[in-house]
Symmetry: C2
Subunit: 162 residues, 2 copies
């Protein structure tokens, strides 16, 4: 029921990576996957979700890729969560029968978890992606020549420093 999973992790990793690029410069999924060891297909789908949500722009074809189109410092984590894992809904009502509440007004069941849900949404709305990406640079350990070639081809060092 929670929404913090690998998809979100791949999204944040990708966003952090793209943030270090020049405006207009594209990032491929292959590049992200190779640099950080994320599974290609899974990462690819996450990027597609981000593109569908308007957070990144995609260019197809050879020399295609993704680029950021929004300022991460003004982007609530909540929006990314919506894009990659859907609405933040931590728990369903225990007593729902065919979509309706069985206990009606006397229900004290859903309330605590619903309260928590609301507070979590508040929390996610108030937390910017930019904040999460702070800290030391995300330095990947070069694992192969091919990797360095990739980075070189992109015109960047592997170490993305703040």
């Amino acid at each position: 029921m929670n929404k913090i999973n690998r998809k979100l992790e791949y999204a944040l990793i990708g966003l952090k990576h793209m943030r270090s690029k020049q405006p207009g410069e594209l990032t491929t999924v292959k590049e992200i996957a190779a640099t950080y060891g994320c599974p290609f297909e899974a990462t690819s789908k996450v990027m597609q979700s981000l593109a569908a949500g308007g957070l990144v722009r995609s260019e197809q074809g050879a020399h295609g890729g993704y680029q950021l189109v929004r300022d991460l410092n003004r982007l609530p984590l909540y929006e990314v969560l919506e894009m990659v894992v859907g609405p933040v809904e931590i728990a369903k009502c225990l007593h729902q029968v065919d979509g309706g509440c069985e206990l009606r007004g006397s229900c004290n069941v859903i309330s605590p978890i619903e309260n928590l849900n609301r507070k979590l949404i508040e929390f996610y709305r108030g937390l910017t992606v930019g904040e999460l990406l702070e800290g030391r640079g995300f330095v990947a350990k070069p694992q192969s020549l091919e990797l360095r070639d990739l980075a070189a081809h992109a015109g960047h060092e592997l170490a993305a420093v703040e």
Copy 2:
């Protein structure tokens, strides 16, 4: 990876129920299960966890049951989470291999998800169970924990924060 699940729900339901009792009055799992439709065995185990964590006291035997021993208004949700679902750890390091970090001591990879984890822990530490158990309407004055309140009840954990 998230820790918001049915166990937590049963815990909050039980706590809310017990809070309405007189001091010294016991609540049985049977009572909770019957009142709210929670599965008996699952709820029972949750209560046992709460007892192990010192949040409630249990009395065995006929006419036994559970009772609250702590003030829910000064109890961080974090503690309940620890009791019923273990430490708040939303995501494992992507680079872990066989339970150990692949990069060992030289690992300077800080996953954004780890940052999020820290922020979530902060959030859970500052949110009291009492707040969550308020009615369905708005809570006029949220009783967020101050640091000194935390110190009174969870001083040993505060030391581990930094």
